[in-house]
Symmetry: C2
Subunit: 190 residues, 2 copies
Amino acid sequence: MPRPKTIDRAAILGAALDVADADGVAAVSMHAVARRLAVTPMALYRHVANKADLLDGIVELLMAEIVQDVPAPGPAAGRDAWLDALVRTAGRARAVASRHPEAFTLLLSRPAASAAAREVRAHIHDLLRQAGVGGDHVERLERIVTTTVLGMAAGQASQRFAHHPPDMLDEDVRALATFVTAGIEPFRTP
Amino acid sequence: MPRPKTIDRAAILGAALDVADADGVAAVSMHAVARRLAVTPMALYRHVANKADLLDGIVELLMAEIVQDVPAPGPAAGRDAWLDALVRTAGRARAVASRHPEAFTLLLSRPAASAAAREVRAHIHDLLRQAGVGGDHVERLERIVTTTVLGMAAGQASQRFAHHPPDMLDEDVRALATFVTAGIEPFRTP
DNA sequence: ACCTGAACACCGTTCAAGT
DNA sequence: ACCTGAACACCGTTCAAGT
């Protein structure tokens, strides 16, 4: 005779992100997450494969937060709409990083194979193609741009730039945008 | 009556890196490192403050490997010697990443305050100044360039780009160099 | 089908004790 | 000064059992 279900994968991942936000990634454990959900650690194993899967799930959640209502052709749909869209996506990544500074590091250390992650990648591919980047360079450049943007956001959030103000200054943001835009330039063939 | 010293900080950090290389960062523990050194876990606490200090020590070691005999004005000390030197430093980072794929991730998740880390930063500052980057942009750009280069190396090493060949292809390396060089361009005032 | 309970080897860190 | 030993609360995961 079946039991009523008391938790599901989404609840578990949410609780895991809560633990990471509250006490850091190191504090994310099967026991701690189970405690927060008021179940036995073993109850989690029906919904996540193991701890690695749990951490990948956090990445899944962060990616989903970044991609959330992302596309929207943008106000300036003219010449450089792609640049506008790219900057907005980067801004959203920064926002997620500052909401989840502890967890954000995971984005750079684990492969992101979730639907949301593929969606973010596909979105950047689109923007690069709109910018006139040649087909064989699109994926390569997406990796580079994504690494730079996520890496900077994670660096700020995790205090890696220790001597620096913890939030990215306007001038940092402008410099990053200038750098990325100029970096893409040689690959454009309009 | 004093005892002969059987381990020191360097031996501990070396053993920690060995564990990371062999079984992954997650396997680096006070117990595991102590086991490898044939001492009690508590013996480590005389030489490292705690586990966080142990992980920071690994970062210290990786930075030292990157900086090792790095400067050397370079063969082409002419116009764009700085570019040559930058590419060589990036190449060295890649080499370290492929020797220590598991540990390399730590470089992007922890502040690097060691002497070696400061040395790497100072070296990049020099190169950027040689390139004609204005004083108030030097540190900002160093953070961006370092993040991009280390992030790409870490991404390759940790299989973050899962669908991709695990070693950076020549064309990836060329594209990264082109991107960074072009990205710096707007900040130069020669 | 879904959760609990007991169990195991392992972990970070403390304190007191040995040499 | 430097290491050991016992101890504690905690961790990932297995297996068998309950509903």
